[in-house]
């Protein structure tokens, strides 16, 4: 790991100033569970780290009636254990409870996860399936527009995610097949029946990051049952492939996980 300057701002404005002051070499750090491992391997060598830990107002979960707003610095364990999330969107609480391991869940944040947009992270599937809105220091971005391929988002270089707002669905569930070593999603499917209709969002499988499966959504719109998606195959073209799961296996798992998520919706 190379030397860097650590900034500990106590307001969003200070954070933005530090981020801008650091230029191309500056990176925000929230829980650090994606950034620190790549820094240790010298795969990323930021010159400036701007911590959001001391910025107030980013760690709250608010019940908005037809939506739940989760502050960007909420840890996965906080989301999993939140009475509001458990009551309004239990699928989201359950998903957060299945991220990584206990250490990861106690350090990693929702804001960090969506801003990083790891193609195997769980939150992008939840955001897209639930039709979430990503709130930043300056605007609101619908998740359909926010995630733009592997590690790419609509965020500007100096833009900070402050919260994620999830519409409350009628029903939703997440099913994940995890990599046995890393526990990242090999195929994670969030199915939600919400205000924008039925949505099926897949993470972990594609080289382009989270994606929706239109054919499954149409099938579920006609008949919301596991059987409706069990026969819908997704193409292995563009699927990720590694030692744990090749493209064909991943494509197969997408269908299996989609079926299980639908069945878990009850």
């Amino acid at each position: 790991m190379n030397d860097f300057t650590y900034h500990a701002p106590t307001s969003l404005d200070e954070a933005l100033a530090a981020l801008r002051g650091g230029g191309d070499g500056a990176k925000l750090i929230a829980g650090g569970h994606s950034l620190l491992p790549v820094m240790k391997l010298n795969l990323a060598s930021p010159t400036d780290l701007v911590s959001l830990a001391g910025v107030p107002g980013l760690g709250d979960i608010a019940d908005g009636g037809d939506s739940v707003t989760v502050g960007a610095m909420c840890r996965h364990a906080q989301v999993a254990g939140s009475a509001v999330v458990q009551a309004r969107i239990p699928a989201l609480a359950a998903m957060a409870d299945g991220i990584g391991d206990a250490q990861v869940r106690n350090a990693g944040t929702i804001g960090g996860s969506v801003a990083h947009n790891d193609p195997a992270a769980d939150y992008p599937a939840a955001c897209v399936a639930l039709g979430a809105t990503i709130v930043t220091d300056r605007r609101e971005i619908h998740s359909d527009d926010f995630f733009q391929g592997m590690f790419a988002t609509a965020l500007a270089d100096d833009e900070v995610v402050t919260a994620v707002r999830f519409p409350v669905p009628a029903r939703a569930a997440y099913a994940k097949f995890a990599n046995p070593a890393s526990k990242y999603a090999v195929a994670g499917v969030m199915v939600a029946d919400g205000p924008a209709g039925v949505r099926v969002a897949v993470t972990g499988a594609s080289g382009d990051g989270v994606f929706r499966v239109a054919e499954m959504e149409a099938a579920l719109g006609a008949s919301f049952s596991g059987e409706a998606v069990a026969g819908v195959a997704v193409s292995s073209d563009g699927m990720l492939s590694d030692t744990a799961a090749g493209a064909d296996y991943r494509a197969h798992l997408v269908t299996v996980m989609a079926k299980r998520a639908v069945e878990a919706c009850g």
Partner: protein, 785 residues
């Protein structure tokens, strides 16, 4: 021997755990010496290359850097030796190429040591190392056995044509061929034993010091066998006499075999400390541990079993190819030979057994012992083959085993070993009962109703532990003896220090050995301390591996205690004015037989150190040492049953039950024994289902971190159902055998046999380790066409 609350047979909580669990263990990396510098080892990023040149000028000018050494600096220093000479079938000795501690002219694997940078801080050393410019002129690499033996393959060493180190055999080939001629059935199998990365929780570390005032060297290192390191480092590498080289292996956080070998880093650090006259410390990062700790296993085998019409085994023929990696690690050559080929009788009466092993150099990390070391490889092959024979012959898989069990002891196998004792029916019966083998079909049906495929698998096995005796292993090529030492020092007020040549790195010796001594001497368990790991404190000993510590080291302690008691009797006889022959020792008291006249051990010990009223001609003091060279291996045995549930949609395998019925000899501490079994079973399930070290064809390590290399987690394991049936070892006084490797030897074939049993209804008849979900899914897809 008297049973007391903390004596032999009691589940005493481990003495050492208080410091381990409260963060007060003292591991090598916890040690800091005044004036120490930090070393960073620059490793080769390529698998095979000529080194055109090394430019260290920029690194030497970097902040904090004191010195940089490369292979040419160490050219006059001896290479890293190997500990066992194997002879090929034709009588020729194995090819034994040199292993320079720092690469000289060539690198041979990703991770090979290229340079050491010594700086004020760890970070400075590492940053400076990044500035070293090495001109790697890349050569084609061989990263697998198949690549190494291919025609026209790249040569790892010019002196090893075809990359062959040796072509070894054991057993009577002609007799085995004749058995196949008579056979009614012949069953064949091809198996791969997957390559594993050991992953001890404590990475390797070392800190070396040279004292110019005395000329003494001290090396603190993460080793399972400090005296062995002193022998190899002192006599073979640096040319230092033993009295000038002290090796300390303090608390060590797991070894599993990977901390047996003498590593290049130990030589580099010690030599560098001598050059600089200052202590130098090195701690391996986890990412470097993956590519520099010795790996384990990596065999490709084909085997045939000859059977008569009734299913009696007539002959077994095994051909194995083993990957040794880029250099010969300390016990690399004996693991796939004398710890493997001689296991192929298993628990069976097979009258003719032949095994040949061809071992290859490749451009991969050196391969050495890993928990079980050779015996898991043999057991896996044999128990897969026996299972396959049952299926092909339409026999019950329990009955085929029972039909062939050895029941008369001692039993001379056709592959060198002589088993002293065992009761294989008893452990089999126990395992069948404890696992409810008979009730399995109901459980299979219940799983099927949930859409799952359930399978059950069995493995009946023996292992050979406590490798010995020295004269025999010497005749087979070992370059060291395999005895053990123990010293027992009774202090003037009756407390006891025990010095053992074995080393504890998770095994709980400080507790187990204290229990033996406490029990024998009748002193409080708390009054007995066990000292190990420091060549300046303990008598010469061979260390801990191969489940030898209790059977060999424990026996040495036992014999030393007996000597203490014999001497104590002389002192007591003098004090009690009785004849030595009339003195009995029990529960810590020396008593004149048939009287109530007695002296306590404490009184006798005090007299030994304050010998005012003392037997004429007897030396003062109460301290005895024994060296014990066993007459034979010990032969733990058992039956393991695994039950799995496969999700046919995803290929996921869940181990739902594991039952062990084990005969590990006399049990000193049942809790420690069960803990050892649990750890071994986890290790074995890891190999069967999860762990696999993969290399790309160019020799780059694909599974170089925990992102890709799957270690077993608690959630991957069921609660283990452990049962014991004990027969005593006949040739050591405690009747002990060994337990540390049982799980990793016995359970992998039981798990794979269970997976195949689960999938057979779907048309799947074979499965390779590790049975990952993808592999299982693919096998189902293939079988279903």
């Amino acid at each position: 021997m008297s049973a007391n609350g903390s004596g032999i047979g009691a589940s005493v909580k481990r003495k050492e755990d208080t410091r381990f669990l409260t963060g007060r263990g003292r591991y090598t990396d916890d040690i800091n010496l005044p004036g120490q510098l930090y070393g960073y080892i620059l490793r080769s990023p390529v698998a095979h290359a000529d080194i055109g040149g090394i430019d260290t000028s920029a690194a030497a000018a970097a902040p904090g850097v004191h010195a940089i050494f490369t292979g040419s600096d160490m050219e006059g220093v001896g290479g890293i030796p190997t500990g066992w000479l194997i002879h090929s079938k034709d009588g020729e000795p194995m090819v034994e190429p040199g292993h320079p501690a720092l690469a000289l002219g060539k690198v041979r694997y990703v991770g090979d040591c290229v340079a050491i940078v010594v700086a004020e801080t760890r970070e400075q050393a590492k940053e400076a190392a990044n500035l070293i410019d090495v001109d790697y002129q890349e050569l084609p690499a061989v990263a697998s056995i198949e690549a190494a033996e291919a025609e026209g393959a790249a040569q790892v060493f010019d002196e090893a044509p075809g990359n062959v180190c040796y072509d070894w055999e054991v057993g009577d080939r002609a007799a085995t061929d004749a058995a196949f001629d008579e056979a009614t059935h012949v069953v064949s199998i091809d198996v791969v034993n997957n390559r594993l990365i050991p992953n001890a929780i404590e990475p390797r570390a070392a800190i070396a010091n040279y004292d110019p005032a005395t000329g003494d060297y001290t090396l603190y290192t993460t080793s399972q066998n400090p005296h062995l390191i002193r022998l190899l480092l002192g006599a073979f590498v640096l040319g230092l006499p033993e009295h000038k080289l002290r090796i300390v292996a303090p608390d060590v956080g797991g070894g599993f075999g990977s901390k047996i070998p003498h590593y290049a880093e130990e030589a580099i650090l010690t030599w560098t400390a001598g050059q600089l006259g200052r202590p130098v410390k090195w701690t391996c990062e986890r990412i470097d541990a993956f590519k520099s700790d010795t790996h384990g296993r990596d065999h490709i085998s084909t085997a045939r079993l000859a059977l008569d019409a009734d299913g009696k085994f007539l002959g077994l023929h095994v051909s194995t190819k083993a990957n040794l990696g880029a250099y010969l690690s300390t016990f690399a050559t004996c693991v796939p030979t004398y710890l493997y080929g001689i296991l192929f009788a298993g628990p069976y009466t097979t009258p003719a057994v032949y095994c040949e092993v061809k071992s290859f150099f490749t451009n991969t990390v050196p391969v050495d012992a890993l928990r079980g070391a050779g015996r898991p490889e043999a057991t896996y092959l044999l128990e897969r083959l026996v299972e396959k024979a049952a299926v092909e012959l339409g026999m019950d898989r329990v009955e085929i085993r029972r039909k062939n069990f050895i029941r008369e002891f001692p039993y001379q196998t056709p592959v060198a070993l002589q088993y002293d004792q065992g009761d294989y029916d008893a452990t089999l019966d126990l395992a069948l009962k404890a696992s409810d083998w008979a009730g399995f079909e109901a459980r299979r049906a219940e799983s099927a109703a949930r859409g799952k495929c359930r399978g059950i698998g069995i493995s009946t096995f023996i292992e050979a532990c406590g490798i010995a005796p020295s004269a025999v292993v010497g005749s087979l090529g070992a370059r060291a003896g395999l005895y053990e030492s123990g010293s027992v020092r009774v202090h003037p007020t009756g407390s006891v220090s025990v010095f053992t040549g074995t080393h504890s790195h998770g095994q709980g010796h400080e507790t187990t050995f204290a229990q033996i001594v406490s029990d024998m001497l009748g002193v409080d368990f708390e009054a007995v301390d066990v000292v190990h790991g420091d060549s300046a404190k303990i008598p010469f000993g061979m260390g801990t591996y191969g489940s030898r510590s209790l059977a060999v080291g424990g026996t040495a302690i036992y014999l030393a205690v007996e000597k203490v008691i014999e001497k104590g009797k002389k002192i007591a006889a003098h004090l009690l004015e009785a004849s030595v022959e009339d003195i009995e020792f029990e529960n810590g008291s020396f008593t004149v037989a048939g009287t109530d006249r007695s002296k306590s051990l404490g009184e006798v010990a005090l007299t030994a150190y304050v010998p005012h009223n003392y037997p004429e001609g007897l030396e003062p003091g109460l301290e005895e040492t024994a060296f014990y060279d066993p007459l034979n291996f010990t032969f733990p045995a058992g039956t393991h049953v695994a039950e799995v549930e496969v999700d046919p949609e995803t290929g996921e395998v869940e181990v739902v039950a594991v039952t062990g019925a084990d005969d590990v000899g006399r049990i000193i501490n049942p809790m420690i024994v069960d803990g050892q079994l649990h750890g071994g079973l986890a290790h074995g399930i890891g190999q069967a289902l999860l762990e696999e070290c993969l290399y790309q064809d160019d020799g780059q390590l694909q599974t170089g971190s925990y992102l890709d290399y799957t270690m077993p987690r608690a959630a991957d394991l069921p609660s283990f159902n452990i049962n014991h049936n004990t027969t005593l070892c006949t040739h050591n006084p405690l009747g002990v055998k060994g337990v540390g490797e049982v799980g990793s030897i016995g359970v992998p074939p039981a798990v794979i046999n269970a997976v195949i049993d689960a999938l057979r209804p779907l048309g799947v008849n074979d499965m390779a380790m590790p049975a990952t979900s993808q592999k299982v899914w693919q096998a189902i897809q293939q079988a279903q066409g």
